[in-house]
C-alpha cells in the first residue's frame, strides 16, 4: 500500500515518558510519493517503478519547496484578511512570522524507499526552514520490508521519533489478497530494529475486513501486533476505492464486496484485544498506550493547522485549504521552475468549518467542543443520547464506544437543516 496513511502512529513502548509537544501547535506534512509497486486496493498518489532520477529530483525539490513556503510566511497560506500569524502559546514566532511547529509527518508512498541519508536530509530541511519544538513528534512511514537497522540509526540521528509500519496483516493469505509483497516476519524484524535504533515510538497499521479474512485471522493479527510491544496501532477497515484493481475484481464478482456487518465485528474485536493490551482507543481507527497518541494526527481532528509539502499533499491554515498537484512529474517541474506546485485552494465558510469540526471531532473519543460546531440539529441529540450513541455534556459532544463506528451517520444527522434562502 502505498501506505499512505498519514495516520499511522505508533509508538515504541518507550521506557521513558514521551514529552508531548505543545497542544495546538501546527504540523508539517511531507509527501514522498514513491512505492516499489502499487497495492491492489490503493488509490493514493504514488509513483512506482525504479525511477532513481525522480527520487533524486524529489530529494532536491522538497527542501526547495520548503524554503519557498517558509520564506513566504503564514500570510501566504492563511485566508486573506486572517491574522496570519498564529500566536504560539509562548508567544514565540520566527522572523517570517511562523509559530513553533509541534510535529512533522513524512508519509507516502513509501518514504523509506529513499536512501536513508536523503530521507534524513528532508527531515533536517524541515527543522532548518521552520521553527520546530525541541520535543516535536517526527514520524516517518515505512513498509516493513524497506526497514533496515543502519537506515533507522540515520533517521533517529536526524530527529525522527516515530516509525509507522504498514504491516496490514499477519496472515499470508490476506496479504496476498491485498497484493502486499512483504513477508509476515519482516514486521517483527522491523520493530526490533526500530527499538534497537532508538526510535521512541513505533506504530503498526493493520487492515481488516479483507474478503477471505476470517475472524480468527484478524484476531491473530491483532495478537501478533500486540505481542510486538508496539505502542500504537491503527486499524483500518478495507475500503474499496473506485479505480483500483480491487474494485475491478469486486465488480467482476471475483471477490465478494465488503460486508459492513463483518467489518463492524472486526472493529469491535480490535477494540477488545487492544484495550486488553493497554492500548486505548482515541479515534475511530487509532489506539495508543496513554501518552503515545499521535500529536500530528490529532491536529487534523482538532481543526488545527498544518503545512503540506510534496506532490498531492493537502494543507490547512486557519480555514484555508490548499493542495499540491498530484502527478509527481508535474510537481517536480513546478518546483524546479521556481514556481509554486499548488493545484488549488479554498477558503472555508464558517458553516463548512463547523461541518469539518463535527465530522473530524466526532471521530475522537474526546469529541468536539459544542461551541465549535453550534448550531447542530438539537432535535437529533436526544434520540442519539437515548440510543446510547452520544454523550452530551454542556461543553462537548462525544460518541460512546457504540457510537464511534457510526460517526459519519451521526455527523450527518447532527448537521443542521440548511437555512432556506
Amino acid at each position: 500500500m502505498a501506505v499512505v496513511t498519514h495516520a499511522a502512529d505508533a509508538v515504541v513502548a518507550a521506557p521513558t515518558p514521551v514529552s508531548l509537544p505543545t497542544p495546538g501547535a501546527p504540523g508539517v506534512y511531507v509527501h514522498v510519493p514513491f512505492c516499489a509497486h502499487r497495492c491492489d486496493y490503493c488509490d493514493f498518489a504514488v509513483t512506482t517503478g525504479a525511477d532513481a532520477l525522480a527520487r533524486r529530483r524529489s530529494v532536491a525539490a522538497l527542501p526547495r519547496e520548503l524554503a519557498t513556503v517558509a520564506a513566504a510566511g503564514p500570510a501566504a497560506v492563511a485566508p486573506r484578511g486572517a491574522a496570519g500569524v498564529l500566536a504560539a502559546p509562548d508567544g514565540a514566532a520566527d522572523i517570517a512570522g511562523w509559530p513553533v511547529f509541534g510535529s512533522v509527518f513524512v508519509g507516502g508512498g513509501t518514504p523509506t524507499l529513499l536512501d536513508a541519508d536523503d530521507l534524513a536530509g528532508v527531515v533536517r530541511a524541515v527543522a532548518t526552514a521552520l521553527p520546530l519544538a525541541g520535543d516535536a513528534e517526527i514520524t516517518v512511514e515505512a513498509n516493513p520490508e524497506t526497514v533496515i537497522a543502519e537506515s533507522l540509526a540515520t533517521l533517529v540521528a536526524a530527529g525522527v521519533t516515530r516509525l509507522s509500519l504498514g504491516a496490514q496483516s499477519f496472515s499470508p493469505s490476506v496479504l496476498a489478497t491485498l497484493g502486499r509483497r512483504h513477508d509476515v516476519s519482516s514486521v517483527a524484524s522491523a520493530v526490533t530494529a526500530a527499538r534497537a535504533a532508538g526510535v521512541a515510538q513505533v506504530s503498526v497499521d493493520l487492515i481488516y475486513g479483507t474478503p477471505g479474512e476470517r475472524d480468527a485471522d484478524w484476531h491473530a493479527s491483532l495478537r501478533q501486533a500486540v505481542g510486538l510491544g508496539v505502542d500504537h496501532v491503527s486499524c483500518y477497515a478495507l475500503t474499496v476505492e473506485a479505480n483500483t484493481p480491487f474494485a475491478a475484481r469486486v465488480r467482476r464478482g471475483e471477490v465478494p464486496d465488503i460486508d459492513e456487518d463483518v467489518q463492524a465485528r472486526r472493529m469491535a474485536t480490535a477494540d477488545a484485544v487492544l484495550a486488553a493490551a493497554g492500548l486505548r482507543r482515541y479515534e475511530v481507527s487509532n489506539w495508543a498506550r496513554p501518552g503515545a497518541e499521535s500529536a500530528h494526527n490529532r491536529t487534523y481532528w482538532r481543526g488545527g493547522d498544518w503545512l503540506a509539502l510534496g506532490a498531492s499533499s493537502h494543507g490547512h491554515w486557519q480555514g484555508r485549504r490548499w493542495w499540491n498537484v498530484r502527478p509527481t512529474g508535474r510537481y517536480l517541474a513546478a518546483v524546479e521552475a521556481g514556481g509554486a506546485p499548488v493545484a488549488g485552494a479554498e477558503v472555508l465558510t464558517a458553516e463548512q468549518r463547523r461541518t469539518e469540526r463535527l465530522l473530524t471531532g466526532l471521530r475522537t473519543v474526546d469529541g468536539v467542543p459544542r461551541a465549535a460546531v453550534t448550531p447542530v440539529d438539537e432535535a437529533q441529540i436526544g434520540a442519539l443520547v437515548r440510543a446510547g450513541l452520544l454523550v452530551d455534556d454542556a461543553a462537548r459532544l462525544r460518541l460512546t464506544p457504540a457510537g464511534l463506528p457510526l460517526a459519519d451517520g451521526i455527523a450527518l444527522r447532527l448537521l443542521p437543516a440548511r437555512e432556506r434562502c
Binding site: 496513511t5 498519514h6 495516520a7 506534512y29 483500518y236 477497515a237 478495507l238 475500503t239 459492513e260 456487518d261 467489518q263 463492524a264 465485528r265 472493529m267 475511530v284 481507527s285 494526527n297 487534523y300 481532528w301 498544518w306 503540506a308 498531492s312 499533499s313 493537502h314 494543507g315 490547512h316 485549504r321 493542495w323 479554498e346 463548512q352 461541518t355 469539518e356 465530522l359 473530524t360 471521530r363 437529533q380 434520540a383 442519539l384 440510543a387 450513541l389 464511534l404 463506528p405 457510526l406 460517526a407 459519519d408 451517520g409 451521526i410 455527523a411 450527518l412 444527522r413 448537521l415 440548511r418 432556506r420
Partner: protein
C-alpha cells in the same frame, strides 16, 4: 352568419388507447385539406406534453373541417376528440352529447376492448349514429373479418358494411368522411330561441382566462353576447368567439349545431365546468340542458411536502392546477407523521398520476404521496354519539376512521366492472376478481374467442394495481372498464403501522377483515425492504385496534464511518456529507426514522395476490 344547419355533421371518435384515434384525426385534417403535409405533425389535436408523451387525450378538442363531399356540396364536419379513459367518463359523456354521430374505431388486430364497449354504450345512450370503422388493416397481424364479426355482434348489421382504413397511410379515410356525411344526422335546434350551448370542455389560458368549448343547441352566440353559465351563475361579456380550424380563428356568430369556443375573462375552469349550459344573460333560456353534474372525486390521496417549509408553495401549486382542472379537489389536512399537507380527491388513478406528474414537472416540489384510497361511509353506533354528532360520516383518510367500538357498520364504494378477454384467460380473470372480493354478475361470449365478464367489485380493491395484475395474468389481452355502482356494506377494519412503536398515520389502510392479517404481514415485510438501515433498530409493526398482528425489524447499521480521515480526506468527506444532506431532503423523517418517499406508495403494492 351561421352555418346552414342541414350541412353540419358533429361526430366523436370512440377508440381504445393505441387503436389510432389521434392518427385518424390527423388524416382527416389532411383529407379535408385543412392541414397540408408540410404543416402536419403527429397527434395534431393533442396539445399537452403529457398527452403527447403518453399517447393519450386528456382534454377534449374540437376541430372544424369544411369538406366538399362527392355530392358537390360543402359540409361542415366538427370532430370532437374526447378523452377515452374511464377516469374521464363524465367528460366523455358530455362530449358525446355535443355530437350526433360517433365513429367506432377498432384495431383490426386487437379487436374490441372493454373501454371501447363502455364508450359505445355512452354513445348509444346519447342517441348517436354509430359508424363502425376497422383500423390498421395494413398490419400483418390484422384479422379484419373476425373483428368485423365482433363489431357486428355488438352493433347489429352486416359485417360487410363496416369500413376498413389504415389511418397510418390514409387508405379508406375519404370513404369514412363520405359515410359521416351520408349517415350522421344533421343537428336540430331552434335558431330563434334564447341561446343554449353545452360546455363540453374548458381550458385555462394564463393570458386570456378560460377558453370554453361549446356546442350550440339553440339560438345564436355573437361576439357581443353577455353570456351566463347557468350552473355556476358566472356572467360576463364575450371577449372572443371563435372556432378551431385547425388554429383558433374568431367568428361573428355561432348558431345551432355549430361548435366553437369563447373567452370571457373567466378566471378558473371551475366557473365554466364541463356539462354546464351557456346562455344569454339578458335573454336567458328558461331551462339548462340536462345532464350536468358536479365532478365526484373517487380516489383520494394525501400530498405532503417532504420539506415542511414547502407547504405554502404546494398550496400555491395546487391552486394553480385547479385553475385548469375543476375535477380535482384538495383540502388541508394534518398528519402526525407527515405534518401539514393536503387530502386530494381525483376522478381516478390516471387522473391522480397526471396531477402528481404535473406537480413534479411544473412546480418541482418534492412530495410524499400517500397510498390512494376511496371514501367510506361510516355509520356510527348510536350509543357512542356525542351531542350534535352526525350518525353517518364520510372518511376519505383511513387515519381518521373512528375507533372500532364506535362503528356500527361501514359502507364502501363499489363499481360495475366489465372485463373483455380471450376465452382462455377467463379462469385467470375470475380468480383475480374473486381475490379482490368481486361478485360475478354476468358472463357473455361475444364470439367463440372473446368473453365479456361483468363483476361488482369494491372500488378500493381496484384502484391500486388491479389493472396491472389483470394485464399480467392475461398477457396483456384483457381490457377493463367500470362505472360507479353505489355503496355496499362490508366488513372492514383499519390496519395501522407502527415504526419504532409510534403509529405512522400515513401508512394506515382500511382493508377487509378477512384479509387484514395477510395484508398486515405483507405490508410489514415490504416496509422492511423499503426502509434503509438506520442508526437504530427500527421495529415495524402492524396493528388492528391496538393488537399487534405482525412485526419485523430493520436492524441498525453497525458501521458507518470512513476508515481514514487525515489531511486531504477531510475535504472529500465534507463534500460527501454535504451531498448526503441534500439527499436527505428526499427522505421524510418520522420521529427518528427516515423514510424514503417511495415507501409511502410502493408499500401498497402488497396487494395479496
Amino acid at each position: 352568419m351561421t352555418y346552414p344547419i342541414e350541412r353540419i355533421r358533429n361526430f366523436a371518435i370512440i377508440a381504445h388507447v393505441d387503436h389510432g384515434k389521434s392518427t385518424l384525426a390527423d388524416r382527416m385534417l389532411q383529407a379535408t385539406k385543412l392541414v397540408d403535409a408540410r404543416d402536419m405533425r403527429e397527434q395534431y389535436l393533442d396539445r399537452m406534453d403529457i398527452e403527447r408523451e403518453r399517447g393519450i387525450t386528456i382534454k377534449a378538442q374540437a376541430v372544424r373541417m369544411p369538406y366538399e363531399a362527392s355530392d358537390g356540396s360543402e359540409y361542415l364536419l366538427n370532430l370532437i376528440d374526447t378523452p377515452g379513459h374511464v377516469d374521464f367518463s363524465y367528460e366523455v359523456s358530455r362530449a358525446m352529447n355535443a355530437c350526433e354521430g360517433a365513429i367506432l374505431l377498432v384495431d383490426a388486430a386487437q379487436g374490441v376492448q372493454a373501454q371501447t364497449v363502455a364508450n359505445l354504450y355512452v354513445a348509444i345512450e346519447a342517441g348517436l349514429e354509430v359508424v363502425p370503422v376497422l383500423n390498421k388493416i395494413d398490419l400483418p397481424a390484422a384479422r379484419p373479418e373476425e373483428v368485423a364479426e365482433e363489431v357486428a355482434a355488438l352493433l347489429g348489421g352486416d359485417p360487410a358494411d363496416i369500413l376498413a382504413v389504415s389511418a397510418k397511410t390514409g387508405q379508406g379515410v375519404p370513404e369514412v368522411l363520405e359515410r359521416i356525411v351520408a349517415h350522421v344526422p344533421a343537428p336540430r335546434g331552434d335558431v330563434d330561441g334564447p341561446p343554449r350551448g353545452l360546455v363540453f370542455d374548458s381550458v385555462f389560458d394564463p393570458y386570456r382566462g378560460v377558453i370554453t368549448f361549446v356546442r350550440i343547441i339553440d339560438g345564436i352566440l355573437r361576439p357581443d353576447t353577455h353570456i351566463r353559465l347557468m350552473a355556476t351563475g358566472f356572467h360576463n361579456g364575450i371577449d372572443e368567439l371563435g372556432v378551431i380550424s385547425p388554429e383558433p380563428r374568431p367568428v361573428d356568430a355561432l348558431g345551432p349545431g355549430e361548435v366553437g369556443y369563447f373567452t370571457a375573462a373567466i378566471k378558473a375552469v371551475e366557473l365554466a365546468k364541463v356539462g354546464d349550459t351557456v346562455t344569454d344573460h339578458v335573454r336567458p333560456a328558461p331551462q339548462p340542458l340536462p345532464g350536468y353534474r358536479e365532478p365526484t372525486p373517487m380516489v383520494f390521496s394525501g400530498l405532503y411536502p417532504v420539506d415542511s417549509a414547502d407547504f405554502p408553495d404546494l398550496r400555491d401549486a395546487l391552486e394553480k392546477l385547479r385553475l385548469n382542472d375543476a375535477s380535482f379537489t384538495f383540502e388541508p389536512e394534518t398528519s402526525v407523521a407527515l405534518g401539514f399537507g393536503f387530502r386530494c380527491g381525483f376522478l381516478g388513478l390516471l387522473h391522480m398520476e397526471i396531477i402528481s406528474e404535473r406537480l413534479d414537472r411544473e412546480f418541482d416540489i418534492p412530495l410524499v404521496t400517500t397510498a390512494p384510497n376511496v371514501a367510506y361511509e361510516v355509520h356510527l353506533d348510536e350509543r357512542t354519539l356525542k351531542p350534535n354528532e352526525p350518525r353517518v360520516v364520510t372518511v376519505s383518510n383511513p387515519a381518521e376512521l373512528p375507533a372500532p367500538n364506535r362503528i356500527d357498520h361501514l359502507l364502501e364504494p363499489v363499481v360495475d366492472a366489465m372485463v373483455l378477454c380471450p376465452s382462455e384467460y377467463v379462469g385467470a380473470v375470475m380468480q383475480l376478481c374473486e381475490r379482490r372480493r368481486g361478485e360475478l354478475a354476468k358472463m357473455d361470449y361475444l364470439s367463440e374467442q372473446r368473453v365479456e365478464l361483468r363483476y361488482t367489485l369494491p372500488l378500493g380493491e381496484i384502484i391500486f394495481d388491479f389493472f396491472d395484475r389483470l394485464k399480467s395474468s392475461t398477457r396483456g389481452y384483457a381490457s377493463l372498464d367500470y362505472e360507479p355502482a353505489g355503496m355496499r356494506r362490508s366488513k372492514l377494519v383499519k390496519v395501522d403501522i407502527l415504526l419504532n412503536g409510534e403509529p405512522v398515520d400515513a401508512f394506515s389502510a382500511i382493508v377487509h377483515a378477512d384479509k387484514s392479517y395477510e395484508y398486515g404481514k405483507a405490508m410489514v415485510s415490504k416496509l422492511r425492504e423499503l426502509i434503509p438501515r438506520q442508526l437504530f433498530d427500527v421495529p415495524i409493526q402492524a396493528a388492528i385496534g391496538g393488537k399487534i398482528i405482525s412485526r419485523e425489524t430493520v436492524k441498525a447499521r453497525r458501521k458507518d464511518v470512513l476508515a481514514k480521515c487525515y489531511g486531504g480526506d477531510i475535504t472529500r468527506k465534507r463534500k460527501l456529507l454535504e451531498r448526503q444532506k441534500e439527499g436527505k431532503k428526499r427522505m421524510k423523517s418520522v420521529g427518528a426514522v427516515e423514510i424514503p418517499q417511495e415507501a409511502f406508495v410502493a408499500a401498497l403494492s402488497v396487494g395479496g395476490d
